[in-house]
């Protein structure tokens, strides 16, 4: 045991040296205010070593990655501070992006409006009242060009919260990058592309599960060849948690969905190590501080074991669970909204101590409306304070070895594994979703939570205890109602300007490709968006061919 421990320790030191050559540490020497030097990593003393230390905890940057996926984590670089933003028109959102980049944000995250997310153009009857409301409206490549104007796509990584039409928006992003002179091999970012959690919790599905899974594996395959630095999916527990699940259910259902994507890709003929290194995850952070920190550690360990043992992945990158975190929207209160700043700080801290790769901190006013610029700035500042002032990023996984945290990590893992077994017995995540199993589990938890809040078994400060007479909140963000009309006329102008015959031709090619199971749809969609076919038009072709999902 001891010998093995020393070998692994040596290996870790070598890993750190290699990392430091590429990305030097943030400081020459890490010390606290008392001038005590901070080591990159603290490990058990020889006589404290337990037999299962290497199997369960190990070293950061090594299997099973409980302590983090990189050998020295934030000693080299902080997590990416990535605030989700988007509202109104592409032009307005472009301004907010530039503002956030000026303020020290290090990556972009695009929120799309509901019509875009469900594949309707802004002038569709079903889009009425929803254009530009929860995100930016994107109809054609022209909008995408405006959205990304002046943003160097070879330097900024962009996350796009888009699922059912992920292929279309990714193609638009590729097309804009090419116009900027950036080849698709160089662009970095993430598409959410996680349809299973849409059926479970988020609701922006279009097609039934089977063709949706095909689109996803088409993206995996295409990107492995042509867009190798893009994360092709962000398997999301965030929305499952927001819909009311527990932390255990969040991890369990997310990893079950992850396994379903891996199964589908393997079934379509891909090798696990071809696509698994580009799988990314997205988790929530709620208020129970240690539970959350332990949850992230457990998730990494479970995934690493699954990939190694169940899927026989050989590439170490396939074993590493990389994740983005967003603080918990549903934990915010409309009452005394400034209190939310404190909730967000605690949640963000748990994500950092849990080893997140990127982080979005919510704004205080999100239970009321979209955040104002001032609220969005405070949210970003919260991350910056954790990064630059708290010192928690100066050593790797500082909670390791806490009896409480390690025990919690083990217990969360155990309960997640029980769920995974149950889902496997049902025939996997796709089957479980179709039967409404996860949906029912989540709803039951959500209802129990509501009852506990109403009976005051659970105290929510400012909501069911410590209330004050509420003031009317005047400074909330409003999306200009004029915007919808403008966006409608804009998409209609695009249709007039473009070469309609070319569009028809591209759409018919896409239709033919959709009918041929063996055809990858990505090149056809790319050609379509380059001809200025709209999101709605492309999605309608696929709706015709694939049908629509209508809920359980």
């Amino acid at each position: 045991m001891s010998e093995q421990f020393h070998d692994r320790f040596q290996k870790w030191k070598e890993q750190v040296n290699r990392t430091n050559e590429k990305f030097p540490e943030r400081k020459e020497k890490f010390v606290n205010k008392s001038d005590i030097e901070i080591d990159p990593l603290y490990i058990p003393k020889e006589d404290q070593l337990t037999n299962d230390y290497l199997e369960k905890i190990g070293f950061p940057g090594q299997f099973p990655y409980t302590r983090g996926i990189q050998p020295s984590m934030y000693r080299n670089r902080f997590w990416t501070m990535r605030q989700y933003a988007g509202f109104g028109s592409a032009k307005e959102t472009n301004q907010r992006f530039r503002y956030l980049l000026d303020q020290g944000q290090t990556g972009l995250s695009v929120a799309f409006d509901l019509p875009t997310q469900i594949g309707y153009d802004s002038d569709d009857d079903l889009a009425e009242g929803e254009v530009g409301k929860v995100g930016v409206a994107i109809d054609s490549l022209e909008d995408m060009e405006t959205l990304l104007e002046g943003i160097p796509l070879d330097q900024v990584s962009t996350s796009m919260t888009i699922n059912a039409p992920a292929s279309v928006l990714l193609c638009m992003y590729i097309a804009v990058a090419e116009k900027q002179g950036v080849p698709k091999e160089k662009i970095t970012g993430t598409i959410q592309n996680d349809i299973l959690k849409e059926y479970i919790a988020r609701g922006t599905y279009i097609y039934p599960p089977k063709p949706s899974m095909r689109l996803i594996t088409n993206i995996f395959e295409y990107c492995a060849k042509h867009v190798p630095k893009f994360n092709t999916i962000s398997i999301s527990g965030y929305h499952i948690r927001e819909a009311g699940s527990t932390a255990v259910q969040e991890v369990a259902f997310t990893l079950a969905n992850g396994m379903a994507y891996v199964d589908a890709a393997i079934e379509s003929g891909l090798e696990v190590d071809e696509f698994a290194p580009r799988l990314a995850f997205f988790f929530n952070a709620h208020n129970n501080f240690f539970e959350e920190a332990a949850k992230f550690r457990a998730a990494r360990r479970i995934w690493a074991n699954l990939m190694k043992n169940k899927y026989q992945a050989k590439n170490e990158k396939s074993l590493r669970l990389r994740f983005h975190t967003q603080t918990g929207g549903s934990t915010l209160t409309a009452q005394q909204p400034d209190n939310n700043i404190v909730r967000v700080a605690l949640q963000a801290l748990s994500a950092v101590l849990g080893g997140t790769q990127s982080l979005h901190t919510n704004s205080r006013d999100e239970a009321l409306a979209l955040p104002t610029e001032e609220s969005a700035r405070i949210a970003l500042r919260t991350q910056q304070i954790i990064a630059h002032e708290s010192g928690v990023a100066d050593t790797v996984d500082p909670l390791a070895g806490s009896y409480y945290v390690e025990q919690l990590t083990d217990q969360i893992e155990e309960e997640v594994l029980t769920y995974l077994e149950r889902i496997e017995e049902m025939g996997g995540a796709v089957q479980a979703v179709e039967e409404g199993y996860m949906q029912r589990e989540i709803h039951q938890t959500a209802y129990e939570t509501q009852k506990k809040i109403e009976s005051k078994e659970e105290i929510i400060v400012g909501l069911n205890e410590f209330q004050v007479e509420e003031e009317v909140h005047e400074d909330i963000l409003r999306v200009d109602e004029q915007l919808e009309q403008e966006q409608v006329s804009q998409v209609q102008q695009v249709r007039q300007k473009r070469d309609q015959e070319l569009v028809n031709q591209k759409l018919e090619k896409l239709r033919a490709a959709a009918r041929d199971q063996k055809e990858n749809l990505m090149p056809h969609i790319l050609e379509g968006v380059k001809a200025y076919a709209t999101v709605g038009e492309i999605c309608h072709v696929l709706r015709d061919e694939f049908g629509e999902y209508s809920g359980v």
Partner: protein, 135 residues
């Protein structure tokens, strides 16, 4: 035997957040009401039609997408067109206080904002059905 209060819970527009709608539906059931939940992405006309067919006493709308000022009044209009304006409509979701007067003017009887205990909604619906609600 007294007829149970019948409520239609509906999600107008494209919003997929149904945690609130599902919780309200279950809370009303737990209070002995009969609840029909429409599911996601319902048009105003579909909602009005369902309310008439199901012969409900009250319609509850839920929206978290910010589209309430367009979506809620359309349901009231659609009920009028179908001659069913006597069915009271209530709503909830992420709705700023300052939008409430506009929505009331458009015929929505009551708006419940985040943090409302379900018991309050239950009481309001009961008083609506008895016809003695004030406001």
């Amino acid at each position: 035997m007294e007829r149970k209060i019948r409520v239609l819970i509906a999600k107008p527009g494209l919003d997929g957040h149904d945690r609130g709608a599902l919780i309200i539906a279950q809370a009303l059931r737990d209070h002995g009401m009969e609840v029909i939940y429409t599911g996601l992405r319902q048009s105003a006309s579909q909602i009005a039609q369902a309310a008439i067919q199901e012969d409900v006493d009250v319609i509850g709308l839920s929206s978290l997408s910010g589209g309430h000022n367009t979506l809620f009044p359309k349901v009231v209009e659609s009920l009028k067109e179908k001659g069913a304006e006597d069915i009271p409509v209530i709503g909830g979701g992420v709705i700023p206080d300052e939008d409430i007067p506009y929505l009331k003017e458009k015929g929505i009887k009551k708006i419940f904002t985040p943090g409302t205990p379900t018991s309050e909604t239950v009481e309001f619906i009961e008083s609506c059905v008895r016809g003695d609600h004030s406001e």
